[in-house]
């Protein structure tokens, strides 16, 4: 069943279709929720609230993006609200010219995971959205209500911190 078929069935309040849609995206969304909140209980609540909103407001989905992208934006906003607006570090928007982060030859996934959770909330959120989820600085700025410069600055310094942790 395609996403389009699923959406039409969900609009008719077909519970089995809603379950299929949930199953299709639950893992990715739950993982993202956990990355953003760094708490499994919060991730559960965020996931639940997200899908309730998805099914209740599905008629507002205009098809301008994929349904997965639409669900993800709802989830990010809910997670952002959940952690009560993480304090972004007050950093200069300008990034130093020698701003490239040199990574060691190999980064272990599990070790990287721990390093990400040790980041301050603001750093973690921007790093997760841009490097892991693939959002652009413009999109992150729009979702979090910050400038693109702030988004770039937060990402640079979060990577710098990660490099320090991983070395």
């Amino acid at each position: 069943m395609t996403d389009s078929d699923l959406i039409n069935a969900c609009l008719l309040n077909d519970r089995s279709a809603q379950r299929i849609l949930y199953d299709r995206y639950k893992r990715a969304m739950y993982t993202l929720a956990y990355r953003l909140t760094s708490d499994f209980d919060d991730a559960n609540d965020v996931l639940q609230d997200t899908f309730l909103d998805v099914f209740r407001k599905l008629e507002t989905f205009k098809g301008e993006s994929t349904i997965g992208a639409w669900v993800r934006v709802i989830l990010v906003r809910k997670a952002y609200k959940r952690i009560s607006k993480p304090k972004l570090w007050e950093l200069p928007d300008e990034i130093p010219e020698s701003g490239e982060i040199i990574w060691s030859n190999n980064i272990d996934g599990e070790y990287l995971e721990k390093a990400i959770y040790s980041l301050p909330e603001g750093f973690r959120m921007v790093f997760t959205l841009i490097e892991i989820e693939g959002y652009s600085h413009k999109e992150v700025a729009n979702i979090l209500g910050i400038s693109e410069g702030t988004s770039k600055s937060q990402l640079f310094y979060s990577k710098k911190r990660l490099r320090e942790i991983l070395s």
Partner: protein, 182 residues
Amino acid sequence: MYNLPEYEPSDEVWNKINTELNNDILRKGISQLPKYEPNGRIWENIEAGLNPKIVKLKPWHWVAVAASVVLVIGLGVYLNYQKTQPTIAYSEQKMDSQLLLQPSDNSDADYETIVAFCKEQTYECENPEFKSLKIELDDLQAASTQLKEAIGEYNTEPKLMAQLAQVELQKSEILKKMTTKI
């Protein structure tokens, strides 16, 4: 062919390659990040949130609901009845019994007797005093007849009844006087 010139790329090209290769290391690490699976309870909660809530009522709740329905319907019927039903008002007035006509009142019959008598015994009726009483009796009789017509069958006008009683009383007194003259 061998004499064709060669061109040197700018350092910027290698810098970008180097940056991308460097970023690949991070991307590889990110691709190894663990994924997490939510537990089944989450779907149950979502499903419960999507179902309309059914409120279970206890027995006494049903009684309260039924009583409320009866009260509302009763009030509606009452108000509707009040709106459509014409208002009936009544009042009682006590009359002076002395002024009311008595069942035994036979002044009309007495008047007819005097009229019949005067047709035969013209001598007595030609007496001036008798004639004066007769004229007065005729006027009272005419007033009595008019009042009785105005009052009608149901005697609903107390003032007219009082006037009629007064007229009948005067008629009786005149009839008494006339009887003594015969």
